[in-house]
């Protein structure tokens, strides 16, 4: 589904990603862990097409298409979903109208007939239930005045509504209390299927207790320096990231 080859990217002239390789297949859940500043969130931004990130080298293929050539909206329409670390507040745009617009545009892109109001409403209700999202929040302005947890849950609700192929969860666990974390994870688990894939970016192992990954990768200094199974996450939790640093230094010497 997703193939990243030798990806180099910089932001404001500063090299952030330095030759990253990663392959994600349908049905898989990958976790990307790493210390602060390793480039985890940058990877998410590059994949979603944030403008101030410049790809200087490498390729990204999504479902056989060159992702890097696409506008952010086309990436979304192709099926890439980014759950933002810091979802923006947009006063005056209602959550529901926003989703209706997004689904309308995505369906048009895929040459699907528009969803009628009734079907949309039904879908919305269904998904709200699935991810335990408060109906009151649906009718409010997009993320306006939402608590940190509500914003993250709204991201998962949108994920459920838009049914993407690849979902990138960028530090979705940050700022969540244990109950919110549980609800968010439950939602994600319900949405897992053999057809879709998840890329979970996190600093802590805690989230991975709830969403069990198939693979765990350690991102350090712009590269994936170690890959393994979920046991790797536990190891990281125990040892921290410092040992990686030493290893890296030894390695480069």
């Amino acid at each position: 589904m997703l193939i990243i080859k030798n990806l180099h990217a910089e932001v404001e002239g500063k090299q952030i990603l330095k030759g990253l390789n990663l392959t994600v297949n349908a049905g898989e859940v990958h976790a990307i862990m790493g210390p602060n500043g390793a480039g985890k969130s940058s990877l998410a931004s590059v994949l979603a097409g944030r403008e101030n990130y410049e790809v200087t080298e490498g390729e990204v293929w999504f479902e056989g298409k060159n992702l890097l050539e696409m506008a952010p909206e086309d990436r979304a329409r192709e099926g890439v979903f980014l759950a933002f670390q810091y979802p923006v507040e947009i006063p005056g745009v209602s959550n529901i109208n926003f989703l209706k617009t997004a689904i309308g545009e995505i369906r048009a892109y895929r040459n699907l007939p528009p969803l009628d109001a009734k079907a949309f409403l039904q879908l919305s209700k269904e998904k709200q239930k699935l991810v335990e999202f408060d109906a009151k929040l649906v009718n409010r302005s997009l993320n306006e005045g939402f608590s940190g947890g509500e914003k993250k849950r709204n991201e998962i609700f949108q994920l459920a509504m838009l049914e993407p192929l690849l979902s990138i969860l960028d530090e979705t666990d940050s700022g969540l209390d244990i109950d919110a974390l549980r609800i968010v994870s439950k939602g994600v688990n319900k949405l897992r299927s053999p057809k879709n894939a998840f890329l979970i970016i996190t600093h802590y192992q805690r989230l991975l207790e709830y969403i069990v990954p198939d693979f765990v990768h350690v991102l350090y200094d712009g590269r994936i320096v170690k890959s393994g199974t979920k046991e790797l996450a536990l190891e990281l939790e125990e040892k921290g990231y410092d040992w990686l640093k030493e290893k890296e230094e030894v390695g480069t010497n």
């Binding site: 979603a48 097409g49 944030r50 403008e51 506008a71 952010p72 909206e73 990436r75 979304a76 329409r77 979903f81 980014l82 933002f84 979802p87 923006v88 947009i90 006063p91 005056g92 745009v93 109208n97 926003f98 989703l99 209706k100 617009t101 997004a102 309308g104 545009e105 995505i106 048009a108 892109y109 302005s141 949108q158 838009l162």
Partner: protein
């Protein structure tokens, strides 16, 4: 402004020449005649404003004054201007779908005496009275409403006072609560360039409550109509007045609209002014004079400008007495080569302790060629006050745009959504759903690429 320079403006000439004929032709009482004469003398001293006048610094009207205009009253032969039938198309344009209201139509400021939508018998509810200004002007019982001769540096207010023709007098009686809104449609139409000067007086009696929606249409053709309208509103003790102004005139209209609201004890006045693409010049002077204590005032405005439009909103909230609250929110969306001007002044007199006054002006500049000039002002002479103002000029938030695009929404649609959202802060303040819906529709129509949703 010196008298020597003025004759270069044809309209100045026309007014000076026409004044004598008009002032002697009407059946004005001595009091009214004197008021007109004094205003005319004052106007001759002031002339038309230029950018050297601080209040017109950003609004250069020179190019709009090059055309010749006839005086509405002169065209009518000096007597009262007769009611003209309103073109159906224009009335339709002003119609607000789903609005349950009484409707009156004024053509060039003259009301035909009919009330629409006042079923079943065509009568207005008890407690509201509509009259033509020309009917009451010379009636001593109404003298108190036409006596104001002090217009400071308001050039156009003097011009209007000297030569106004007709208008609508509304009185909501003491204690009357008018449930249905009144929709006043102002149609401007003529077959030649015309200076039209309506004068309106509205009175909300003690403890009365009403809602008025005004629509301004006309000026769709090549003819240039200079509309210099003046309105005085008296909000008496404990009254509540909701006032919506929808300025949707065509490019042939040059609109100068002065509104003075005089608020008494514990009165509430809400104004919502929407200016949409069309009229090439719009200058609004909205002045809320808080003459007694414990009043509440809300001024909301939205200007969506396009083409070569110049839209200037001047507001004054004049806190004269203690314990008054005022809140102002004006937002601008500037398209194409248009220019927006906002000048809002909050003036707090020494006596006006415990004043709470807030003012905000936000502008979204969409086009590279658009210009915005914003001048919020606070002038405060009392100490126990809470006053603030803010003004912003900017573009869409890049972050918001990216978020929407990352959800699959195309750039144009995303921008349209954000413009609607920007305007929403103002439109959501409207209390009537049909009006809110209508305004949102009007806004959407003018946004470069419409939302699909």
């Amino acid at each position: 402004m010196s008298l020597i320079q003025e004759p270069a403006i044809p309209l100045y000439d026309a007014v000076v020449k026409g004044y004598h004929t008009l002032s002697t032709a009407g059946a004005d009482t001595e009091g009214v005649r004197r008021a007109r004469q004094s205003a005319f003398d004052q106007w001759r001293l002031l002339g038309f404003p230029s950018i050297k006048n601080e209040d017109w610094k950003y609004t250069n009207i020179t190019r709009y004054l090059k055309d010749e205009f006839a005086l509405d009253g002169l065209v009518a032969g000096g007597g009262p201007v007769a009611a003209v039938a309103a073109p159906a198309g224009l009335v339709k344009k002003a119609t607000i779908p789903g609005l349950d209201a009484f409707q009156v139509v004024l053509v060039n400021g003259v009301w035909d005496g009919k009330v629409h939508g006042a079923s079943p018998k065509g009568e207005l509810p008890k407690g509201i009275e509509l009259l033509k200004v020309s009917q009451v002007l010379n009636d001593p019982a109404f003298a108190g409403y036409f006596g104001n001769g002090k217009w400071g540096n308001q050039h156009f207010a003097y011009l209007n006072t000297a030569l106004f023709t007709d208008g609508l007098f509304i009185r909501v009686k003491d204690g009357a609560v008018i449930e249905k809104p009144l929709h006043v449609v102002h149609v401007f139409t003529a077959d030649r360039n015309l200076l039209i000067q309506p004068r309106h007086v509205w009175v909300a009696g003690r403890n009365a409550e009403a809602s008025v929606i005004e629509s301004i249409v006309g000026g769709e053709g090549d003819v240039k109509l200079w509309v210099n309208s003046l309105m005085e509103i008296f909000a008496q003790t404990d009254s509540k007045l909701d006032h919506v102004v929808l300025q949707t005139a065509g490019t042939g209209v040059r609109l100068v609209q002065h509104t003075t609201v005089r608020q008494q004890k514990q009165s509430l006045y809400n104004n919502y002014t929407f200016t949409l693409p069309g009229a090439e010049l719009v200058r609004n002077d909205l002045q809320a004079r808080l003459e007694e204590d414990h009043t509440e005032t809300h001024l909301y405005g939205l200007y969506l400008t396009a083409g070569g439009q110049l839209v200037d909103n001047h507001t004054l909230v004049d806190h004269q007495k203690p314990n008054c609250y005022s809140n102002e929110l004006y937002k601008g969306v500037l398209l194409e080569k248009s220019t927006g001007v906002f000048n809002g002044k909050v003036y707090v007199h020494q006596d006006a302790q415990k004043t709470n006054a807030f003012q905000q002006n936000n502008n979204l500049v969409i086009s590279k060629q658009a210009t915005i000039d914003s001048k919020p002002e606070l002038e405060i002479y009392a100490d126990d006050v809470k006053c603030s103002h803010g003004s912003t000029v900017g573009q869409f938030s890049e972050e918001a745009l990216f978020y929407l695009r990352a959800r699959g929404i195309g750039e144009d649609t995303a921008k349209a959504l954000l413009i609607n959202a920007f305007a929403f802060d103002v439109t959501e303040k409207l209390r009537n759903e049909a009006v809110e819906h209508f305004v949102n529709e009007l806004i959407s129509q003018h946004i470069p690429s419409q939302t699909q949703a």
